[in-house]
């Protein structure tokens, strides 16, 4: 009998248990961390509130509604120097989105091509891709932006060679096909001018794109349900182009092309791709493309070799093995790191100021901040914008990720 041993212990709570008792220890440390966090943030807020300049000026966003006073070169929406700082901010935000979207698209294309080719059996091609990846991802993107910008400014022909000489002779250089001109002040390309019914043609084209996707889905259904291979390429091209062309001519050609024409200093009319946009776009694309290439390679290598061999045993050709068997499975490995690469591109667009591209950091975080002196307000707003962009991209990509990830039934 052991009744006399181990009398029931008094279940009183002692303060030492907070540290020594594993039941409470984690709560104790979490509580301490929380208090430290709250204290840290309140100290920052207090410090800011005691700032002499802030006390004198107050914290206010009224400046957003005052005239900006400066000009912006790339204007996706109309803007003059008499418009408000808010409008300048919005233009900067749109410019950020423009270059981010462009760079995401081209970086993905570069990355997928380089990633697949790096696994090629051809020694030269795979080594070339290895050199591309190692070279571009190991040099800071700011350096690439500046290199490309400087090279573009110094290798493209000076715009003066396109100008009409005063003596009436022909200029040294002419437009390519009468439509394109690559100069050190940017690349001038034709612009589409929509007349009254032009939007009908545009709508038809958009509908055709939807039609192409519908045809692809149809072809896939046929393949999966009946095992028939329905041709995709040529019908898709026909669906894409024929209705648009028919509508275009039936309506009497409501969309015309405006070619750039030489003015006193530079080309008037047409559309100008500025060197700053080109440099930023291209640098972000090839830099991030190198990272995406590695993601793609990792995704493909993650698929067991047995899958390829099984597909080959069934008689599929290499191209179909890649597109029907390997890539669909590789996507669920590739997509999550791809999301963070897209976020990196979006955040790296803020390096735009190095080449004078008027993005959000250039307008709100640059000139507006500097002309109004409202540093805290501008930076907080800037953070809010970038946070919103990044979270939106994340949300969209996560939806896509859910659609391609392994379905567990």
């Amino acid at each position: 009998m052991t009744t006399a041993a181990d009398p029931p212990r008094a279940e009183g709570f002692r303060i030492g248990q907070l540290i020594n008792d594993t039941r409470y220890r984690s709560y104790t440390f979490q509580f301490i961390a929380l208090v430290a966090l709250i204290f840290g943030f309140s100290w920052l807020a207090y410090n800011a509130s005691q700032n002499e300049q802030l006390q004198a000026n107050g914290f206010s966003y009224d400046f957003l509604f005052a005239p900006a006073g400066y000009d912006i070169n790339q204007q996706p929406i109309p803007y003059t120097s008499q418009d408000t700082h808010l409008r300048a901010t919005v233009i900067g935000a749109i410019n950020t989105i423009i270059v981010a979207v462009l760079a995401c698209v081209t970086a993905t294309i570069f990355g997928v091509i380089a990633g697949v080719l790096r696994l090629s059996n051809n020694w030269i091609i795979s080594k070339l891709m290895a050199i591309y990846v190692e070279m571009f991802r190991n040099i800071p993107v700011l350096i690439w932006i500046i290199i490309i910008f400087t090279v573009a400014a110094n290798t493209f022909p000076p715009i003066s060679e396109f100008r009409l000489p005063n003596d009436g002779s022909d200029p040294d250089r002419a437009l390519l096909f009468g439509m394109f001109a690559a100069t050190n002040q940017g690349v001038f390309v034709p612009r589409l001018v929509f007349e009254d019914l032009g939007w009908v043609v545009a709508l038809t084209f958009l509908a055709s794109i939807a039609g192409v996707f519908a045809w692809r889905a149809h072809a896939r259904n046929k393949l999966y349900s009946e095992g028939k291979i329905v041709p995709v390429l040529w019908p898709a091209l026909a669906i894409l182009l024929v209705p648009t062309i028919v509508v275009y001519f039936v309506l009497g050609m409501p969309i015309t092309v405006e070619n750039p024409a030489m003015g006193r200093f530079r080309f008037e009319g047409g559309f100008l791709l500025r060197p700053s946009l080109i440099a930023l776009w291209f640098a972000l694309s090839i830099y991030t493309g190198a990272f995406i290439a590695e993601n793609v390679r990792a995704g493909i290598l993650a698929i067991s070799r047995g899958q390829t061999e099984a597909a080959a045993a069934l008689g599929l050709r290499p191209g179909r093995i890649m597109s029907l068997v390997v890539l669909p499975q590789a996507l669920r490995v590739i997509i999550p790191p791809l999301i963070s690469q897209y976020l990196n591109i979006t955040k790296n667009t803020s390096l735009a100021i190095a080449v004078g591209y008027m993005d959000l950091t250039g307008t709100l975080g640059g000139i507006t901040l500097n002309q109004t002196g409202r540093a805290l307000e501008c930076i907080l707003l800037l953070m809010l914008f970038y946070l919103t962009f990044s979270l939106a991209i994340s949300a969209v990509m996560n939806v896509y990720n859910n659609s391609v990830k392994l379905k567990e039934r």
Binding site: N73, N184, Q185, I353, G366, I367
Partner: protein, 339 residues
């Protein structure tokens, strides 16, 4: 115990941050050097020479203040600032004064909470174009591509000038003056605009300066001068009267060569005596020693000497005195009396 150490550290850091901007003069004396904000490099105004020593017209103001306060013109830490970073650097206390081709404007003086302590160069914004362009007036620039240094008053003046004259242009915003010049020389823009003094300074550094013309139009008033933070009037007085001492020294014929002699014993001119500290107590009134302004003049010379050595007609930059002559010679340079 650990927690109390943490709290103590935070509280101390808070106190340190709060006390950063009390009396600049005491801070400078305690530190032993003057933190002076200058440009990232404009020939003649502020640029390190071949030995890495900062030289120039604005640099001389920094050295004069250091000589007056600390007695040593070399006791200056030069902080290069861009058009964008300069005001933050001054407001945050990173620098004690800014001598950086900065235009005195209403909103900078009031809204940004700075004090301009005078004007050391009366300037105006101009345009530079390649001579080959065949442009002789700024009114012919409709449709041109213009390089500008972003975050400056030139950006706003440019927008106003083209708008008022119903002309269009393509702005190419660039962070620093040196990069803007590179872009201009590469032909990425047809026009480079900034203060005319800086245009002349930059052009002097070109391979063939005569291939570029500065157009006759002056599109703005740009009084450039040193500035300090609002709210420390004692420090503002020191910077203001050091600059005035250089100006008055030229007016009264006090030079780097004769200042020691004139400052050793009271002379005939009571104004010179008061300025150099041989009579009265002007130095003590601003919290400095009696010979403070004598030290400043001995360190860099009078205003005219500073001008001639750095940007005058005998230098590569070759600027005429023009508006920056003494009022006795028809210019605007004028010091209130030392009394």
């Amino acid at each position: 115990m650990n927690k109390s150490v943490l709290l103590g550290t935070l509280a101390f850091a808070g106190l340190a941050a709060a006390g950063a901007s009390a009396a600049t003069l005491d801070d400078v004396k305690a530190r032993g050097t003057l933190n002076c904000g200058v440009t990232t490099g404009v020939p003649g105004f502020a640029e390190p020479d071949a030995n890495g020593v900062w030289q120039g017209f604005d640099v001389a103001v920094c050295r004069a203040v250091a000589a007056a306060v600390l007695g040593d013109p070399e006791a200056v830490t030069f902080v290069p600032t861009t058009g964008k970073t300069r005001f933050t650097a001054l407001a945050s206390g990173e620098i004690d004064m800014l001598a950086r081709n900065t235009t005195w404007t209403f909103s900078r003086d009031t809204d940004l909470k700075f004090d301009f302590t005078g004007v050391n160069y009366y300037d105006g914004q101009g345009f530079m174009v390649p001579a080959a362009l065949g442009v002789s007036s700024a009114t012919e620039l409709d449709g041109a591509t213009v390089c500008i240094q972003t975050g400056t008053t030139t950006e706003l003046n440019l927008a106003d000038y083209f708008r008022v004259n119903n002309m269009s242009y393509e702005p190419v915003p660039i962070e620093t003056g040196a990069e803007a010049v590179q872009q201009y020389l590469a032909g990425a823009c047809d026009v480079y605009t900034t203060d005319r003094s800086a245009l002349a300074a930059q052009r002097a550094g070109f391979e063939t300066p005569s291939d570029h013309v500065i157009l006759p139009e002056v599109v703005s008033k740009e009084p450039l001068g040193p500035l300090v933070r609002h709210g420390d009037s004692e420090w503002a007085d020191i910077v203001r009267w050091t600059l005035n001492a250089l100006i008055a020294a030229e007016e009264y014929g006090v030079t780097q060569a004769n200042v020691e002699e004139l400052g050793s014993a009271p002379g005939d001119n009571p104004e010179i005596n008061r300025m150099l500290g041989t009579e009265g107590e002007l130095g003590a009134m601003v919290g400095l020693e009696a010979g403070a302004f004598k030290n400043a003049i001995a360190a860099v010379g009078n205003y005219g000497e500073v001008f001639d050595q750095n940007i005058g007609e005998s230098t590569a930059i070759g600027l005429a005195r023009g508006l920056n002559a003494q009022y006795t010679d028809g210019g605007l340079i004028y010091s209130p009396p030392f009394r």
